[in-house]
Symmetry: C2
Subunit: 385 residues, 2 copies
Amino acid sequence: MTVTAAKGFEAAGVVAGLKSTGKPDVAVVVNRGPAKVGAAVFTSNRAKANPILWSQQAVSDGVVEAVVLNSGGANCFTGTFGFQTTHQTAEKAAELLGVSSGDILVCSTGLIGTGDEIFRAKVLDGVEKGVAALSADGGAAAASAIMTTDTVSKTAVRERDGWTIGGMAKGAGMLAPGLATMLVVITTDAVLDAADADAHLRHATHVSFDRLDSDGCMSTNDQVTLLASGASGVVPDPEAFRAALTAVCIELAEKLQGDAEGASHDITIEVRHAASESDAVEVGRSVARNNLFKAAIFGNDPNWGRVLAAIGTTQADFDPYEVDVWMNGVRVCTDGGPDAPREDVDLTPRATHVVIDLKSGEATVRILTNDLTHDYVHENSAYSS
Amino acid sequence: MTVTAAKGFEAAGVVAGLKSTGKPDVAVVVNRGPAKVGAAVFTSNRAKANPILWSQQAVSDGVVEAVVLNSGGANCFTGTFGFQTTHQTAEKAAELLGVSSGDILVCSTGLIGTGDEIFRAKVLDGVEKGVAALSADGGAAAASAIMTTDTVSKTAVRERDGWTIGGMAKGAGMLAPGLATMLVVITTDAVLDAADADAHLRHATHVSFDRLDSDGCMSTNDQVTLLASGASGVVPDPEAFRAALTAVCIELAEKLQGDAEGASHDITIEVRHAASESDAVEVGRSVARNNLFKAAIFGNDPNWGRVLAAIGTTQADFDPYEVDVWMNGVRVCTDGGPDAPREDVDLTPRATHVVIDLKSGEATVRILTNDLTHDYVHENSAYSS
């Protein structure tokens, strides 16, 4: 039940006419519990959409009553008018819910530059419909309403001793580093204070969404929000809560990877024995962003030379002539030289596992990415037309 | 006549059997002039091929007698045996030419990991044939022999007051920052000392090949070599020489761009009014490497939102909400908001001009790149099979 799996939340997903397909395009998630704790992390892109600019302010006091999300338009680079649209969206929701507009977060996704009078009118109409449709089992509808080029809605739930965490995510393109083009809302009925919620969320996103790098492109609209209602009455063990939240985030990240635009392989790049975690991330990301490597995987070609060429561009501490590379369990490169023949490697399964052993330390990191395909090019050359 | 346009040079391109097509695959360029000045710049990739490791040492004294180049195998990550192959290549050429092997540069291009006994035997055979075929009008043959996926050979010549510069280049994929997968040899009959040759070459490559970023992938084998024979007897005006050398490098860089694997658009990204040259390069390169932008151009979509999303990931000094963007002469974005409608922009010509005005200073830089196409994916998913 996604964002309504935890007690104290209501949600809705409604049709506001923003999508030309007529599918649901506005979601509302409301915290009805005794506590109104909220935390959020945002895109690190300096080009931030209006909803990001608004939400960063609104969440800063750690109090969040509700989140309004729309697909069908990013409201990014739409000027003062666009910012006013976000402001009016929050005010409209606040008025209908009887709360302060400063406690409403707003998220938008879709084409950059979209945010005119028609967009505004439809979003405001969607808020009205969404609040009217709120229900304690509206999580699935909300998860559908935030989809753009997603082919399936993405949800994850973990139930623990007396408390629950549930989340929804959207995102299929422009998936990259400091978060992806993705909107994520996670709710919990655990009792948390704002500082803990923020710390747990930052930890969980750091090792999940921040390690998903599908196409190297960073969005202007990314937002991951955690709402805690306290409705379970249970104060969770901090370690257990962090572990469960991280599991939800990793599951959602893997679902984003699995539905990435045009992809035919889900590639896990595991960097082993790096001198540091940051070295491991840098090495993994250099491979995840290498178009030649990604095209090779599309072609089921275990081209380890492209792996070494990619990691050679990093500043990480290792010797290229000591590196081993495995692909789907076969060691194709040992000490920077050829090992098993390419014929030994079966890259036909969608799940692809690349291991890069740097032999330089103890850090291990997994970076998630996808291959570069004809369909990726096709979808992204035709997106706005 | 490429590398034999300047006086004092002989060249050859011969069939050594490295290419399965049976086309020429070994080139030799020899300096027969009174001076044996050489300078070279190399890939900044830490994963360097054996010929790079060899040539870096060989050129360090500023004396170069000849360059041997092969296509059909990169001799990269081929271990000690591969390095010995490079060493033997230089020794073979030195013996046949009656010079020191330490004055022979070696360049290789092709698949990484290729460099077994058969490769070695063919290369050595090619050196023998190449030296036997040397002639003062062998430049065109040499330019053909270094081609890999290139569809045309690339050459450029400038004649000035009593001296000449001529060059050849190959490269069509893995074209990126600290040079591309490209091999370039430039010759001149001007009288230069080694320090000047090195300084002129570094300047010229910095503003030409270093600003070509076709697919963001950096090669293990890039090398640009300048040979000066002194055969004209003319000491050139330093500024005039630098300008002519830069013009040759820019022309060759544009020819590499124009023949990039699978590309359907040659995109010039002009960054204007940046606070510094390095800011301008960072901004231009962020766009050149953005797959969503590159796919949009392939689809003839003037998607300026992807330009702003790309430049927002940089650390350059500018305000995203003051940026203007032009595409093929039409201002599609003003002060970070929509301007002319997309219908006004004609992106059907192969030559595409994107201007990004940062309004932050006086620096202007042009970065050359290509679009991301079905053919790029196809060529690079099938390359090694």
